[in-house]
Every structure is written in structure tokens, then in C-alpha cells.
């Protein structure tokens, strides 16, 4: 899947100022990613409608505005690698090849869901495709990712972990303890972990400025001697370039690396965040101008690999896929009641 060429620069050669080398990703791949991003966008819009209709329960956190981020980093994903993230997890699953039908069915709490209807939106897992969840306690998946990375190094697989975390999560103690372990284990090449900060400017209603006195989040990795850089994550090509450099470094050295990816949450924190008293409509309107899908459309038009008509087709197809997923979800049966007590302990233990 990797479409950029790896340069021989070590990541520390790159200034931490958001500029990235020009991507060599092909126009065809960009177009394909555009299609995927639109599909994810429409999937999430459909899920939001499902929530409003009371068909999707619990909490629902969408990735709208952030699609270029995961799509870009996953360009450097290779079979055997693993991702782990928080509850804002639909995009990761879908970009990694997760079935939109099973994913939607999960949100609908159906037995055909990705995790049998047991987890819901916050706990998507698709281990077969390398997607290791979906966690609801802010920051608490960070040590899991670091430990998973240790295991890859221990078993000498050559695989790496992509560990996604929010700008809010970085202030949690788990971040500090885990990044410190990563730095320490990295000295022996025992922590092939790529930390990816999804800096969407807010942790629920708390802006980065109101969460820390040092808003240069990437710099927090200095505490652990972990090299890092920033990237404009509204720009898919910039993300892809950084992703390859970073992934190659991590894979080759067994050491951690970090990227602060600057993005923006265009939607509410979660589907129940109606008021958004914490930010102005103007701010959101301004941010929409850099919607990664919009930017990518312009880029594709500039490159001449698409036109309005072709894009309209892509949107229409994405709409169909989302509709199909919803239909599948709606028509799927609820989990069998016997599922209540399975998966508490391993089946072979005979315990329920």
C-alpha cells in the first residue's frame, strides 16, 4: 500500500515546524484515498442520523474533519502492524479494511456487529485487519500500545504499533508513564511504537490552551528523549510523507517516534454535545475551509485526475454504501441472549 519513497533522512533532520517533504504519492492513490475518506464521512453522517433516531445508543464520537490524519498514517501501515486508539475509532477500522456493514451493525448493537454488539461505537476491534481497539477511558490505551510494541520487538516480528491519542489524553498520567517506558525500552530497540497525537484542538469542551501551559504538545516527548515532529494533518500528502519517514524509523530502530498531527474536530465532541458553548460558530466556520476532504478535492482537480462529475459519482457511491450498511444493521438480529455470558472468560475454562 505504501506509495511514497522513503528518504534516507532520519526524522530528526526534519525541522519541527510542520513542513514536510513533498509527497511522491501517486495521483491514483490520492484519488482512491479521497474515495475512502468520502465513504467514511458518509458512514459517520449516517451513524449520526441513527443516533438521532435512537437506533445507535451510548456515546457516538465521529471523526469528521480528521479523515486525512488516519488515512495518511495508514498509508505506511504494513500487514502485521497494529493500530490502537481511543473511542473515536470508526475511521481507523474502516480505513484498515473493516467491513462497513459489520461496523454499522455494531453501532446498532446487533449480533452481526464487529464485536457481536458487545462493545458499541467506542469499542471497535478488527484484529484480523490489525485494528486492536477502541477504548473508552481517556489515556488508558496508551500503555497497552507500548506493551504491544514491546511484544513485537520481543518476538522480533518487524511489526510496529501505531498508537493514536488525543490532545486531551496527553495530560493524563498514563501518557507520561507510558512514553517514559517507551523511551527507556527504545534504548534497547525494544519499543517500535509510533505515537500519533490527534490534536483536534479540544478535549471535549476544553481547548488545548485551557488544558496546559505548554501548548506545543509534541515538545512533551522531549521529556522521554523521544524524537518528534509536527504535521499539518489537513493535508493528506503531508501526512503521508511524515508517516513513512516516521514508520520507517520506528521499524528500523525499534525506537519510538512521535508526530503531533494538527487537525480540527468539525463536529461536536460526541453526538450528545449539542450546545458547544466552548467555541464559536465562527471558529468552526473558519475551520471548515480547511476540511481535509475539501482540500483534497481541490488538489485532485488541480492534478487533473478528477472532475466534478467523477467526484459526484464517488459521493453517490459512498452514499449507497452507507445506506447499505444502515440497512444491514437495521435488518440484523439482536445478539442472542446466550451471548450475555460468553467472552467473560476463555471458553475452554468452562466459566461463565
Amino acid at each position: 500500500m505504501a506509495t511514497t519513497h522513503h528518504t534516507n533522512e532520519t526524522p530528526t533532520d526534519v525541522a519541527s515546524n510542520g513542513t514536510a517533504p513533498t509527497s511522491t504519492v501517486s495521483p491514483e492513490t490520492l484519488l482512491d484515498y479521497y474515495r475512502q475518506m468520502v465513504e467514511v464521512r458518509l458512514f459517520e453522517e449516517a451513524a449520526t442520523r441513527g443516533f438521532r433516531q435512537g437506533k445507535v445508543g451510548g456515546y457516538l464520537h465521529v471523526y469528521i474533519g480528521q479523515e486525512a490524519l488516519a488515512r495518511g498514517f495508514l498509508d505506511a501501515f504494513r500487514k502485521g502492524d497494529k493500530t490502537i486508539t481511543a473511542y473515536r475509532d470508526h475511521a481507523h477500522v474502516l480505513f484498515q479494511g473493516g467491513d462497513p456493514k459489520a461496523t454499522m451493525a455494531e453501532l446498532y448493537g446487533k449480533g452481526t456487529g464487529l464485536v457481536k454488539g458487545k462493545g458499541g461505537s467506542m469499542h471497535l476491534f478488527d484484529v484480523e485487519n490489525g485494528m486492536w481497539g477502541g477504548y473508552g477511558i481517556v489515556g488508558a490505551h496508551i500503555p497497552l500500545g507500548v506493551g504491544m510494541a514491546y511484544s513485537e520487538a520481543y518476538r522480533e516480528t518487524g511489526n510496529i504499533i501505531q498508537l493514536y491519542l488525543g490532545d486531551g489524553a496527553i495530560h493524563n498520567g498514563y501518557f507520561h508513564e507510558s512514553a517514559n517506558l517507551a523511551g527507556l525500552w527504545g534504548k534497547d530497540g525494544m519499543c517500535p511504537c509510533l505515537f500519533i497525537i490527534e490534536n483536534n484542538q479540544y478535549g471535549m469542551g476544553t481547548s488545548v490552551e485551557r488544558a496546559t501551559a505548554n501548548t506545543n504538545l509534541g515538545s512533551k516527548f522531549d521529556s522521554y528523549a523521544i524524537p518528534w515532529e509536527k504535521v499539518d494533518a489537513m493535508d493528506l500528502e503531508a501526512v503521508i510523507a511524515v508517516a513513512h519517514k516516521a514508520v520507517d524509523y520506528v521499524r528500523e530502530t525499534g525506537k519510538p517516534y512521535a508526530v503531533e498531527a494538527m487537525t480540527y474536530r468539525l463536529g461536536p465532541h460526541g453526538a450528545a454535545d449539542f450546545l458547544e458553548q466552548y467555541r464559536s460558530k465562527d471558529e468552526v466556520r473558519e475551520a471548515r475551509k480547511r476540511d481535509p476532504i475539501g482540500l483534497l478535492e481541490q488538489r485532485l482537480l488541480d492534478l487533473g485526475v478528477t472532475d466534478e462529475e467523477a467526484m459526484e459519482k464517488i459521493r453517490a457511491h459512498a452514499k449507497e454504501l452507507a445506506d447499505e450498511a444502515v440497512k444491514f444493521a437495521e435488518e440484523s438480529p439482536e445478539p442472542d441472549l446466550s451471548e450475555l455470558t460468553t467472552d467473560v472468560y476463555a471458553p475452554e475454562t468452562g466459566l461463565i
Binding site: 445508543g57 451510548g58 456515546y59 455494531e106 448493537g109 446487533k110 449480533g111 456487529g113 454488539g117 458487545k118 462493545g119 458499541g120 467506542m122 469499542h123 477504548y135 473508552g136 477511558i137 481517556v138 489515556g139 488508558a140 486531551g168 489524553a169 495530560h171 493524563n172 498520567g173 478535549g203 471535549m204 469542551g205 476544553t206 485551557r210 488544558a211 496546559t212 450546545l275 458553548q277 466552548y278 439482536e334 445478539p335 441472549l337 451471548e339 450475555l340 455470558t341 467473560v344 461463565i352
Partner: protein
Amino acid sequence: MAVMTYRDALKSALADEMERDESVVLIGEDIGLYGGTHLITDKLIDRFGKKRVIDTPIAEGGFTGAAIGMAMNGMKPVVEMMTWNFSFLASDQIIQNAAKLRYFSGGQVSVPIVIRGPNGGGVQLSAQHTHSLEGFYGQFPGLKVVAPATPEDVKGMMLTAIRDPDPVIFMEAGALYGTKGEVPEGDATVPFGKARIAREGSDISLISYGRQVNLLLKVADQLAKEQDVQAEVIDLRSIRPFDSETIIESVKKTNRAVVVQEQWRWFSVASEVAAIIQEHAFDYLDAPVERVSGAEVPAPYARNLEIAAFPGVSQVIEAANRALYRKG
């Protein structure tokens, strides 16, 4: 008496105490500018300013600890745990510092802190966001743990909590924020350590707390209507200190008891209630104390599984019938 929601009753207690006592401050995630995820503290930042309504980063251990430090040093912080599910991250501060500081400082330090937030299942919040932790925290001497079920109690017990010189774990029934009830005006404190008889009856004692109290009232109505059984419904309200007396008196009268909780069964509030009853009303018991608890599984997401995991009317009726030696 005004009719108000559980939410507004709670909020009025917080605002009244802040008005009365400058040392009272609120601290937690998104309680200010955002308004609080359950809107308990909505607009209080406009009224009291950001020094008294303190928004924090996502750091339960750190800000709970900091609030304990404030409490040690002349303030009366009320911490919002956005939901109690996140409190495991602060459990060390709560159990090792707040609960024990008075003791291991030989009485030199007090910790007048309240830690509050919604507790218990919601709707499809799934495994990591569904816990009932009264028994979990109730284990520890040095803590007080309360779980009010009505607007009147949530206000009155919050007033008591804030004025208490010791740490109080204040577990709101998140599912009841929107429910209404009569609330006395003014300074109507409700003491800790007193259970509430929510319905009098003579044939069987139904015991619970939090949102299950409403379930028990429904069950009692049904038992009365369908089986001519008069159930007494007891709302524990206060988990630590605990009102053993009211329960024992009730069972001495009814000779039968069912304890209901959303929490898992093992090592729980229901275990203790059963143990207490057999200890102190042994000769009065005509049947074993029955327990109805949540299913022994992490909370599932799917609605049908979730409903099956929580205690429901039929399970309680069955338990009551077992205790009554009836077929039902």
C-alpha cells in the same frame, strides 16, 4: 415545597452552599465553560467565576489529589467525577489519602471534600462506562458513601456532605437526573446514616438504593395488586455510615427480605445486607434473604443484552416469591 428535578435540586444545593461559604469551590472536567456534561454545574462559572468553578485537564488522579490538598488547607472542594467510571484513576487518592489522612496525621489534618458524580448504568454505555461503586468505596473506613434516590434527598444530602468535615463519596443516580419530586425550600439537610422507608408494608422487606428504589416501588405495587402482598420498600440512601437498625426492624416485622442492586453480586452491598440480617434477625427470618444483582458480566452494549444484565421487575418478583415460598 417546590417540585424540581433531581438535577436542579442538586444544583441548587451546590449554588446555595457556594453562596453561603466562600471556601466551597467546584473542580472537574468541563464543569465550567462546557456547562458540565450532565449540566449539573451549568452557568455556575458565570456566577462564581473561574477561581471557584475550576475546569481541569483529563487527569482524575491529579485533580482529585489537588482537591484533597485544597481540602487539607482551608477549602471545601466539591469534585465532579464526570462519571464514577473514571474514578478508578483517582482511587488511590481517595482511598490512600482522603480516607486516611486524618488517621495517619494523628488528627492534625482534616479533609472536608465531596466527590460527586453520576453512578450506575445509563443506556448502552457498555463495559467501561457502567459501574455501581457504592460497595467498592464503602469498604474503606474514613470515607462516607451516600447514594440519594430522590430530588429531596439529593439536595439535603449534598448540603450535609459539603458541611461534613470528612470526605464524602456522593453517588448520584445518573439515570434519575431528569426525574421530578417535591423538595423543601431552604436549609433542609438530610442526615447520613439513616435509611428511608419509601413504602410501608408488613409482608416482606424490599431493600435497595439509587434508581433501583423506583423498581422496588413498582414491584411493591404489583405484589399488592396481584398477590395481596404488602411489601415494605427501604431506600438505604447512606451506604457508609449504614443504618442497620431500620433494616433489622423491618425484617423483624416482615420476616422476609429481598435485596436488589445493579452492582455485581460478589462482595457487595447486597452481601452485607444479607449478612447483617442473618446476624441480627436470625430468629425472625422465615426464609433466606434473597439477592438480585446485575449479571456477572462486563456491561454489554446491545440493548437487549443490557436489559438482561440489569435487575428487572420479573426477577425481583421471582425473588420475592421465593422468599414468600410462593409460586407467584
